[in-house]
């Protein structure tokens, strides 16, 4: 039976000139897991906001179980049995799990602790996602918070559940179990709509998949009739190369060398324990590991100004540990940080200001006492052309750019001074397929030009397809190094959980 039908939905945002939904029609069956995928800005979220009553369509209508529905607000939606879990959680930190689940729908306005707790416990167990009803929310990990958000909806008798990029906040290890709980929900008669741009998850979890591009529906596919490459082509609108084409590396001199680097946190916890490795010119050295196993600490010592307890970090043979960031940059280090929204870019500033950070004191950017605006503008214009940064202008803000184009701005700036060492931390996190392809090709191109690249990624696929050598971190120790044909998913995974090479 049909749970939802979108009938010729259109929505135009005059302020940005974006046609977010363009004559969208398709339907979602009851009891299925229906994935909606598309690149960032394809119109997935707008469509879901229309379904949840947060946005009104300019034209077209939504049918719920065959009847036309006027959904004017989220409370309308919830009363019709439609619930939505947003990407950013909306929970009261100081309340317990049970209090959060029942907030706003308490019995007769009174709190009845024991029966409430029992109700929430039963609800969570029935749904296959047990939580401790008494745990205060601030103490819970992200995966649990997500369960609470879903339970909030279930407690309101929601039958149709919309999940906006639910796996974006989860670690790779939480994703599998999470997808299983979705299946259980579907089996118990719920309809799950699941927005994602990660195609592997979509193929793992969904029954049917609708692909959107530029506000239009490209098509709806049964899972059994499609494949990841086909979906990717539909999303991007052209052929996507999944395998990064790359020649064998031709490594040169050692550029970055870590010798017995030991680091501790402020509280004395061991973050990195005698880590030694080196990165040579013309190779990509990947560091794999579950996040929180010391990679972050190493990066903060190499690329930022964290201090180390003992050991040494050499860049072209010069000690750089404890040196100022500006000095490291002057020696040829470039750095694409993990978070482009807060660190890599300044959202409040225009493209020009973003294009010169790290170079503000260089003689190239200054003319006497003043900044050399003419040169800066020319250089920025060249970046936009060379990297095809869509939507950017030299005096426009960077905050309106898509994630992929933001990352291009960071890359363009970091590569502009022809560095000898490039450090990239989660370079494709949150990017769509087309942008990931671009970033990967760019990294290979720089490698072939002789740049030493240190790659950090929690995406195993990324490590596998880009790295010439891989070091695996586990509990602060470099558990092992792999090279050439030894690099495969199994060998990395074993090292990630602490098995040594000898122990295999």
């Amino acid at each position: 039976m049909e749970a939802i039908r979108f009938d010729h939905i259109s929505k135009y945002y005059p302020s940005t000139g974006v046609q977010a939904s363009d004559d969208i029609s398709f339907s979602i069956e009851e009891g299925e897991i229906h994935a909606i995928c598309g690149e960032n800005g394809a119109g997935k979220s707008t469509l879901m906001n229309i379904l949840f009553g947060l946005e009104k369509p300019d034209s077209g209508s939504v049918f719920i179980r065959g009847a036309e529905a006027a959904i004017r607000s989220p409370s309308d939606a919830i009363s019709m049995g439609i619930g939505m879990v947003h990407q950013h959680f909306m929970l009261v930190d100081s309340f317990t799990a049970a209090e959060n689940v029942l907030l706003g729908i308490e019995d007769k306005g009174f709190l009845n602790k024991s029966s409430e707790r029992e109700y929430v416990r039963k609800l969570s167990e029935d749904a296959g996602m047990p939580i401790d009803p008494d745990a205060p929310v601030y103490a819970l990990p992200v995966g649990q918070l997500q369960r609470i958000e879903i339970l909030k909806m279930l407690a309101r008798n929601v039958k149709i559940l919309i999940l906006d990029e639910p796996t974006a906040v989860l670690t790779p290890y939480e994703v599998g179990p999470f997808l299983e709980t979705l299946r259980k929900l579907a089996d118990s008669g719920h309809t799950v709509i699941f927005i994602s741009h990660k195609l592997q998850e979509v193929m793992d979890a969904a029954d049917r998949i609708t692909v959107m591009r530029q506000g239009k529906v490209v098509g709806t596919k049964e899972k059994k009739d499609t494949s990841i490459p086909e979906l990717a082509d539909m999303m991007v609108g052209r052929k996507v190369l999944f395998e990064v084409e790359k020649k064998p590396s031709v490594p040169g001199d050692t550029i970055l060398e870590l010798k017995d680097v030991t680091m501790r946190s402020h509280r004395g916890r061991l973050l990195a324990d005698k880590v030694s490795f080196s990165v040579r010119a013309g190779e990509i050295y990947g560091i794999a590991g579950v996040s929180g196993n010391g990679q972050e600490a190493l990066i903060s010592a190499i690329a930022e100004d964290a201090s180390i307890e003992s050991g040494s970090i050499l860049l072209n043979g010069k000690e750089i540990s404890g040196h100022k960031i500006a000095e490291k940059r002057a020696l040829g280090m470039a750095y694409v940080p993990e978070d482009r929204m807060t660190t890599g870019l300044n959202m409040a500033a225009d493209f020009l200001d973003n294009s010169i950070i790290g170079f503000q004191d260089s003689s190239e950017m200054n003319k006497g006492l003043f900044l050399n605006r003419e040169h800066i503008t020319e250089r920025a214009g060249k970046m936009i052309d060379d990297y095809q940064i869509r939507g950017a202008s030299v005096d426009g803000s960077v905050s309106a750019l898509s994630g992929g184009n933001m990352q291009k701005v960071v890359l363009a700036r970091e590569l502009s001074a022809s560095p000898c060492l490039l450090i990239v931390d989660q370079p494709t996190r949150g990017l769509d397929v087309g942008s990931i392809e671009f970033v990967h090709r760019m990294l290979i191109r720089e490698r072939d030009k002789g740049v030493a690249i240190l790659l950090l990624s929690v995406e195993l696929d990324e490590i596998l397809s880009l790295s010439d050598r891989v070091g695996v971190m586990c509990r602060g120790v470099l558990q092992g190094e792999l090279e050439g044909s030894d690099i495969n998913e199994h060998s990395i995974a074993m090292l990630m959980v602490g098995e040594t090479e000898e122990g295999r």
Partner: protein, 361 residues
């Protein structure tokens, strides 16, 4: 640095606050039974006019000078993302320096005046350094530390003029008049409009260039807009914040010094009458921009002047109405989100039409 649409909005918003503030004041004037229109005319004439023995406009320029400087001082803090409100304290200590040295030095004025100004700048700078250092090194909230410094300054001033610096003659707690040759010249007799005004305008122009045209200003802006971005790019943000607040304090100290040398020629209790705090309003209403600070300082000074000279003396409307008008403007700035969509629609009217036309095609 910002695109055209947001520039328009950024100017439209304070303009709307001003109009709304005037509207409320007009309403209040109407309640007193005076015709609002004639009251406004009197207000403008005696705030910005050129009639009378000393043209009110020049008096306004004179009383706008300390506002310009304290406004600039507050603005510098805003630029590095720090809400430091120690201008009151820095202003008072700058003034104390000038009054003390001005009454006790016995040097030719070419040496004494620059020396006094330098000492006042240093005094202001020291009181900029204290909250900055506490914030950067120890994480002390700058608002709290500067409020306490402001109280300290008021009390120190009261003590000084009551005892060590007190002029013998007279009942009032005030210091001795400073050496006549140290007085700064006035351009128009009796207007307070003098060399200080020129110094203020030059400083505004100087900081405009510094902030938007040089690498030092670039670092300040980046620290203020996104500190982790600045740190990532090798800007030493702690140093930038401390230096900027020291300079900000120096500017506020200079403001106090110039008021003593050019205007009061002595110091007394209640000397500042909240000028330091007015600087915060000026900086906020002036959108943290030197041009805005200049315009708002003139407006504020003119309204006060007009309310005192015009409304109170010629129409016997309490001069506090000028204060009410300014307070209303600040109030409307504070609640700008309440009417922002409306202003956006007014400003963005053309854009929406364009969009509709595009859609029609």
């Amino acid at each position: 640095m910002i695109n055209g649409k947001s520039i328009k909005l950024r100017i439209a918003m304070p303009a709307a606050a001003l109009i709304l503030g005037i509207a409320v004041a007009v309403l209040l004037i109407a309640l007193t039974g005076v015709s609002p229109l004639s009251a406004l005319r009197v207000l403008i004439d005696s705030g910005f006019g050129f009639s009378g023995r000393v043209a009110p406009f020049f008096i306004t320029l004179g009383s706008a000078t300390p506002l310009m400087l304290t406004g600039l001082a507050a603005m510098l803090g805003f630029k590095v993302g720090v809400f430091c409100i120690a201008q009151e304290c820095q202003y008072v200590f700058g003034a104390i320096m000038a009054a003390w040295l001005g009454a006790s030095l016995e040097l030719p004025s070419v040496i004494a005046v620059p020396f006094i100004i330098l000492c006042a700048i240093v005094a202001g700078g020291i009181f900029g350094f204290i909250p900055a250092f506490l914030k950067v090194k120890l994480g002390v909230n700058e608002i709290i530390s500067s409020i306490m410094l402001n109280n300290t300054a008021t009390l120190v001033l009261e003590y000084l003029v009551a005892f060590p610096l007190r002029a013998d003659a007279g009942q009032k707690a005030q210091s001795e008049v400073i050496e006549r040759s140290y007085w700064l010249p006035e351009f128009v007799q009796g207007s307070r409009f003098g060399i200080s005004f020129i110094i203020g305008v030059l400083l505004l122009a100087f900081f405009f260039m510094l902030i938007w045209k040089t690498r030092w200003g670039y670092k300040m802006r980046m620290v203020g807009e996104n500190i982790s971005f600045a740190d990532y790019g090798g800007v030493r943000s702690s140093r930038v914040i401390i230096l900027t607040l020291v300079v900000s304090g120096a500017v506020a100290g200079l403001a106090g010094c110039l008021e003593v040398l050019g205007n009061y020629h002595r110091i007394m209790t209640g000397f500042s009458s909240g000028l330091g705090f007015d600087g915060l309003s000026v900086a906020m209403l002036g959108l943290s921009h030197p041009v805005g600070v200049f315009i708002v300082a003139l407006l504020l000074a003119g309204i006060r002047q007009g309310a005192q000279l015009g409304l109170q003396i010629s129409l016997s409307i309490p001069r506090e109405l000028g204060g009410v008008l300014i307070a209303m403007v600040i109030f409307f700035v504070a609640i700008e989100n309440a009417y922002k969509p409306f202003v956006e629609r007014l400003v963005g009217g053309r854009r929406r039409k364009d969009a509709r036309e595009k859609e029609a095609k």
